[in-house]
């Protein structure tokens, strides 16, 4: 891969003796849309600040196009950041905000005006140049923040929850807008969010982080369909995560019931996490599936029904297009293909898993 633009090598960072990033290594390719996804406080922003140059790692190195930039101050990096909010300059109008970087570089006036016009057009804000930034809505402010960064033609754009403060509808609109902008200017995006849906729809590659380490990376599809541990499975989408024992290849014991699956290569009688997506469970008449249960709850969600089925001690979450009567006895069945078996992790995040157990 000669196409790598940014390399993070063994990055560690602690605040007040608490380890936030732990020996993290990550490569980002040119033109990639990479999303850092993880729960609040897992160190996403800290990692972004290290890439932007606002925070120095305790150990490890940052390479940009092969050069070590670990100690380079932010103003010398060819990387720009779009912050979560409140980062426009309140004492300047929209045009002056966008022109800020170009003026520092002493570009000719004509060039600057042309660029500002282009950038305003790019973010769908033609004609807003003379407005004061404080008179703009949240979504408009974020567009200007994006325009202000892009106008300097950075090689990489860092976006730290840029849509976090917006309402749902505006967020969806801005997601499409961002993908269009990315397509038009063709630069590398590193995007931070804790909204998994946002990550799944926008990214080429998702990096799921928790407790300062990378839990899994891959395309949206691979993360969603093949989570590698219970944390990822739980964090991405709704999941039934249940303890199981791998009896032999392609046979797992769940709650005392033998269920066929397609996974191989585990030790005999190895304890595992079994992950089943709610939309993969099929409700049928009593006795037709691998287990029977009582319908305990039914919620209409617009496109589907959210059904809870209690079987033994476990409450299964099921998504179905057809309703099932509460208190009726039903069976659950599943295609062996849709069962995901995962090794129990031995690392530090075991406590997280236990909580889910």
């Amino acid at each position: 891969m000669g196409n790598i633009i940014l390399e993070l090598r063994g990055i560690s960072k602690s605040f007040d003796g608490k380890k936030i990033l732990d020996d993290l290594t990550l490569d980002i390719e040119k033109n990639e849309f990479v999303t850092l996804l993880g729960p609040s406080g897992c160190g996403k922003s800290t990692l972004l600040r290290i890439i932007g140059g606002f925070v120095k790692p305790d150990s490890g190195q940052v390479f940009f196009e092969g050069q070590d930039i670990t100690l380079l101050p932010p103003e010398k990096r060819q990387v720009h950041t779009v912050f979560q909010k409140y980062s426009l300059f309140p004492h300047m109008n929209v045009s002056d905000n966008i022109a800020f970087g170009l003026k520092l570089k002493k570009k000719p006036k004509e060039y600057i005006n042309e660029k500002v016009r282009y950038a305003l057009h790019l973010v769908n804000m033609d004609g807003y140049g003379d407005r004061m930034t404080t008179s703009l809505s949240g979504g408009q402010q974020q567009r200007i923040a994006i325009a202000r960064a892009i106008v300097n033609e950075p090689k990489m754009l860092l976006l730290d929850e840029p849509l976090g403060a917006l309402d749902l509808k505006l967020r969806h609109e801005m997601q499409r807008e961002l993908m269009r902008i990315k397509h038009e200017v063709g630069i590398t995006f590193v995007y931070v969010t804790h909204d998994q849906e946002e990550a799944l729809t926008m990214s080429d590659r998702i990096v799921v982080m928790n407790q300062g380490i990378i839990q899994q990376m891959g395309t949206s599809k691979s993360i969603y369909d093949e989570p590698q541990n219970a944390f990822v499975a739980d964090f991405i989408g709704d999941s039934n995560i249940i303890n199981g024992i791998m009896l032999k290849d392609r046979l797992v014991l769940i709650q005392g019931i033998e269920v066929e699956c397609v996974d191989e290569g585990f030790d005999a009688n190895e304890p595992v996490d079994v992950v089943i997506r709610p939309e993969d469970l099929i409700i049928g008449t009593k006795g037709s599936g691998f287990t029977n249960g009582i319908v305990t709850n039914l919620i209409y969600k617009g496109a589907y029904y959210d059904i809870s089925v209690t079987a033994g001690t476990h409450e299964w979450s099921v998504q179905s297009n057809v309703p099932a009567a509460v208190n009726s006895e039903v069976s659950l069945s599943i295609d062996p293909e849709n069962i995901q078996i995962m090794r129990k992790p031995k690392s530090s995040d075991e406590e997280v898993i236990d909580k889910l157990g």
């Binding site: 409140y86 426009l88 300059f89 309140p90 520092l104």
Partner: protein, 265 residues
């Protein structure tokens, strides 16, 4: 009903202030235009006292000294006070509180104590004169600047500084282009406050000035001991008008920005 009552009380309050505070000043102003030297009889309008004021060398030099002192001390304490406010705001809680107490004491301290203390201190290092007065004025002005600037420092948005660095501004440039404009209002009112405090001061100046140097207030005091002349009314009127004007500008400035901000919301 309650509205009417509070309305009445607030009007009444304004009236009392007007009578007790401004009536004496009004008398002073009227007398400065009085033809008679008498303090009780009005004999007609004149500008004589103002004209003789203009031709008075002693008064002119005192005026220049006063303005130079006010401007220099306000300017220097603006720089020191702003830096101090930035430093204090980034201190830990305890040192922050200690610093604020240390800042407040000179303002509450009796002027005469400050004056004598400064005088005793200054004569250890320099002959009393313009410089010692200037240093003293800077000393008592710094707390006013700190008090005016500190609230703005606390409200200041630091992510703007980071955004500026991100877009290519070095630390100094980002400070002057992005941090200082946010403190501008506080600095301006701090400057004007310091300016008027310096113009206003008599006691501390009196103790630290030594012989030969006179500000308007110390000069008026000296003159009055020889007997009150109507020129002094005229001079006092001018001082009052200038201070009043400066305060109006300073307050108008902060009120203006408040309204501008409100307009956006």
């Amino acid at each position: 009903m309650v509205d009417k009552l509070t309305d009445f009380i607030s009007r009444f309050y304004v009236a009392i202030i007007a009578v007790f505070l401004y009536a004496p000043i009004a008398v002073l102003i009227v007398l400065s235009f009085n033809k008679s030297r008498s303090r009780v009889v009005w004999e007609g309008f004149t500008l004589d006292w103002y004209i003789s004021l203009i031709h008075n060398r002693q008064i002119q030099s005192a005026l220049m000294t006063t303005l130079a002192l006010a401007f220099l001390s306000a300017f220097i304490s603006l720089i020191i006070g702003t830096a101090a406010a930035l430093g204090i705001s980034s201190m830990k809680r305890r040192s922050h509180r200690t610093m604020m107490v240390l800042t407040n004491i000179p303002m509450l301290n009796a002027d005469i104590v400050t004056g004598i203390a400064l005088m005793l201190w200054m004569i250890q290092f320099m002959p009393l004169g313009f410089n010692s007065v200037l240093l003293s004025h800077i000393t008592f002005n710094i707390p006013y600047v700190i008090l005016a600037v500190l609230p703005k420092v606390k409200m200041m948005n630091l992510s703007i500084y980071n955004a500026g660095r991100d877009l290519g501004a070095g630390p100094l440039r980002a400070f002057f282009m992005l941090i200082l404009p946010q403190l501008k209002d506080g600095m301006l009112s701090g400057f004007f406050m310091a300016f008027t405090m310096s113009m206003d001061d008599f006691v501390i100046t009196y103790f630290t000035k030594g012989a030969g140097v006179n500000t308007l207030s110390t000069m008026i005091y000296g003159e009055i001991r020889k007997g009150i002349k109507p020129e002094m009314y005229a001079l006092s009127t001018i001082i009052f008008t200038v201070v009043f004007g400066v305060l109006l500008v300073a307050n108008g400035n902060t009120i203006g920005t408040k309204e501008r901000k409100r307009g956006y919301e």
